[in-house]
């Protein structure tokens, strides 16, 4: 329910609605976008970054909070850990029970490997479960993997590793087909054609969806498949340090039971990091759309073991996080709302930009509109911009919202806002970790043997920004690939003597660099107590 203070602004939005629906705002030129990003995107805010003093990316700048966690103390003292007492001994150890981890586990199992999943919360308590909008694949007549490539490469500011992007777009249709075959219910018409829409920055309608529960539908199906295969899943258990062998190859992980704090040792021939993103690091104080366990753990694990990061300084701020009511502050309002026709409207009822620019451009434009231009709406908890959802029903017909974005309707409905009739208030929210561990096409890190990475913990697939729908895609494509490759590689691995020397070495580096801190990492969970 909106209080009275919003009435005038809502009236302005309503009055302009018909005109705004008909109005087709121009897209920005390349130059306009560049200037806008430099001036307003959080990634360009110099004071929010610090230089890494140690580790493989020494000298590079990353957000303060990430810098602190990468350079923090280990949660363990290596001399306290008895590496001869092995609690789990497997071929492939998957760390993280989201979409990437589940896909990897299924494929490793399919390849005959003895595979196990450890995950910090429950399997499926993950960003994958929350994805609403959909998954891209160039499977329509007017589309092709090459067009998909160009969209993603441009959207990521021409910084993607091309061999990774090639794999992403070329394996996309097969990924959708694999999911369908597992029983994922994609939106289709009665002839079986996929119902697809645009996402920000796409030049073809290639967004496949399962209503606005796309990620949930994928995640629960993958989880069910993992359980049907009886792959061991050790939940409420986090990896807190990688274990290497005497040759410097990844050979397992130190685990901690999140509830009892018991420490355990897992030995493995190959290890897959699939720990997802970092929204709960709250970079620059932003709220986040991410799940509770998104704390960049995989980056810390890899970094201490010597693996390199790529583009760790680039984050995605989703343009439309909920700005009101306070209970859902930061929660995602899916891009599909704009795909279906809702436009961004300022306090005065003006459409100030094309609704489907790429995410970084949209976020920067909203920040400018609320900031320097002073056209934001005061929410009582910051600023916001209207997203005029009733336009969707006007364009697509009555019932479109309930049919296509039921989760959105429910989310706001709980607070007395009927998005079919009333617009909603949004502001950018910390959404996605563009950067991560640097890998080659086979999903192995570029400099730690037998350490594979998949999903949001990878850097370089998308470049410096990611298009909607390409992440659900990457967790399937690279998750599966990591699972297959890790299983194949495990066949000829002889694990040497286990060691945590790299943890000591990193501590020494820290000391030598004069860094003193009480912080320990990986962070595992944020602390919201007494707040």
């Amino acid at each position: 329910m909106y209080s009275e203070k919003f009435t005038d602004s809502i009236k302005a939005v309503e009055a302009a609605r018909a005109k705004n629906i008909a109005y087709e705002p121009a897209r920005m030129t390349a130059q306009e976008k560049e200037d806008l990003l430099k001036a307003y995107h959080p990634d360009y805010k110099e004071t929010e970054f610090a230089e890494l003093k140690i580790g493989p990316n020494k000298g590079e700048r990353v957000p303060h909070e990430l810098c602190a966690t990468l350079q923090a103390n280990s949660r363990i003292n290596p001399s306290d850990i008895d590496l001869s007492k092995i609690d789990y001994d497997v071929d492939v150890l998957v760390i993280g029970g989201g979409g990437a981890g589940a896909s990897a586990a299924i494929e490793a199992h399919e390849a005959g490997a003895n595979v196990m999943v450890v995950t910090k919360l429950r399997m499926g308590d993950a960003n994958t479960m929350m994805a609403e909008g959909g998954i891209q694949a160039a499977d329509k007549e007017n589309d092709s993997p090459a067009i998909h490539f160009v969209d993603a490469f441009g959207g990521g500011h021409f910084a993607a590793k091309r061999e990774l992007l090639r794999k992403l777009v070329c394996d996309a249709p097969e990924a959708i087909s694999w999911l369908s075959d597992l029983g994922v219910e994609f939106d289709k018409d009665k002839d079986g054609n996929m119902i697809t829409t645009h996402g920000g920055g796409t030049s073809r309608k290639r967004m496949h969806a399962a209503k606005d529960y796309s990620g949930a539908e994928i995640m629960r199906t993958l989880r069910d498949e993992v359980l049907n295969r009886q792959i061991p899943v050790v939940d409420f258990t986090a990896a807190i340090e990688l274990i290497l062998d005497e040759n410097g190859n990844a050979s397992g992980a130190v685990l901690v039971n999140m509830e009892t704090e018991e420490i355990m040792v897992a030995r493995a021939k190959t290890v897959i990091i699939a720990t997802g993103g970092a929204g709960r690091m709250h970079y620059q104080g932003f709220p986040t759309s991410n799940h509770y366990g998104a704390t960049a753990d995989g980056l810390v694990l890899g970094y201490r073991a010597g693996a390199k990061l790529l583009y760790a300084e680039t984050l995605q701020y989703h343009p439309t996080g909920a700005a009101y009511p306070e209970q859902i502050f930061g929660a995602l309002v899916t891009e599909k709302v704009r795909s279906l026709g809702a436009k961004l409207v300022n306090a005065k009822g003006e459409v100030f930009m094309h609704p489907l620019e790429t995410r970084d451009v949209s976020a920067a434009s909203i920040i400018r509109e609320c900031g320097d231009r002073g056209n934001g709406v005061d929410t009582g908890n910051g600023q916001g911009i209207w997203l005029d959802t009733p336009m969707i029903e006007a364009i697509g017909g009555e019932g479109t919202i309930e049919k296509r974005i039921p989760a959105m309707m429910r989310m706001f409905g709980k607070y007395g806002i009927d998005i079919r009739k009333e617009p909603i208030l949004i502001y950018p929210t910390l959404h996605y970790q563009n950067g991560g561990l640097d890998i080659t096409e086979d999903c192995m890190t570029t400099n730690v043997e037998n350490l594979f990475v998949a999903g949001e913990a990878v850097g370089g697939i998308h470049g410096r920004n990611r298009l909607m729908g390409n992440s659900l895609l990457d967790i399937i494509v690279f998750g599966r690939s990591a699972g297959k490759n890790a299983a194949a590689k495990a066949k000829d691995v002889k694990v040497g003597a286990l060691t945590l020397d790299h943890v000591n070495a990193f501590a020494n580096e820290r000391k030598a660099a004069g860094i003193t801190t009480d912080e320990v990492s990986p962070k595992l969970l944020p602390d919201y107590r007494n707040k």
């Binding site: 993997p145 097969e174 409420f236 799940h291 107590r529």
Partner: protein, 224 residues
């Protein structure tokens, strides 16, 4: 000054701001959550919670991350409920009524009390989707249960011991895999890629200098 209300977490009284969700109220009171907190936004079903407002006869169920506190709310979280999940091979199940009979025979013991529907945290018509499952109408069961977050609250209320979310999961997978119409354009595209149809196009992109890629991107045609 914020308006405060009294809530009783597992029976113990705390004073918390009235605008908080149950989840935030627990944190405000000093709990560091581990169990019972996943997505924090109504998708994962980790935070199933039961409560009673003092003086009410009704026992209510909700998701802690999606529900505001009320004065005199007695709260107990239900972070785990022992559901039965049968193991099956998707390639071998067939979309017939028998499969439900085989895997989840207890659904036929439903007494129609509707307790599941009343308890559902997503306001789904749970009894109805179980009825569809009984009849082997997987498509309808899938449709009716689609928004299920598998929190297990319905099952905690069921006198027949049914694991509703697992029944619905099977129905949705059967529907997605066997009953939904096949997608021809998808199969064709996978075939084309396997045949190498796009190989040259893609390889050309792999080599192109950045300036040419920019040109290509900035002038690309965008489908209306």
């Amino acid at each position: 000054m914020e308006n405060m209300v009294n809530v009783f977490l597992f029976g113990k009284k705390y004073s918390v701001p009235e605008n908080l969700t149950i989840m935030r109220a627990m944190e405000y009171a000093g709990y560091q959550l581990v169990r019972g907190c996943g997505c924090r936004n109504g998708f994962c079903g980790a935070c199933a919670t039961i409560y009673r407002i003092k003086g009410d006869r009704d026992l209510k169920a909700c998701l802690a991350c999606q529900t505001k506190v009320e004065d005199n709310m007695y709260i107990a979280t239900l972070p785990f409920f022992p559901l039965v999940k049968q193991v099956y091979d998707m390639d071998k199940v067939a979309p017939t009524q028998q499969i439900m009979m085989q895997l989840y025979p207890e659904i036929y013991a439903c007494i129609g009390c509707n307790a599941c529907t009343k308890a559902c945290t997503q306001d789904l018509n749970v009894m109805q989707y179980i009825a569809y499952a009984q009849r082997g109408d997987f498509e309808k069961c899938a449709e009716e249960s689609f928004d299920c977050v598998m929190c297990g609250v319905c099952s905690s209320r069921c006198p027949a011991g049914i694991s509703h979310p697992q029944v619905a999961m099977l129905a949705r997978r059967i529907n997605g895999k066997y009953l939904a119409p096949k997608c021809d354009h998808l199969e064709n595209r996978v075939q084309e890629i396997n045949d190498g149809t796009f190989k040259e196009l893609i390889e050309a992109l792999m080599q192109k200098p950045i300036d040419e890629m920019k040109e290509l991107y900035n002038t690309r045609e965008i489908e209306k």
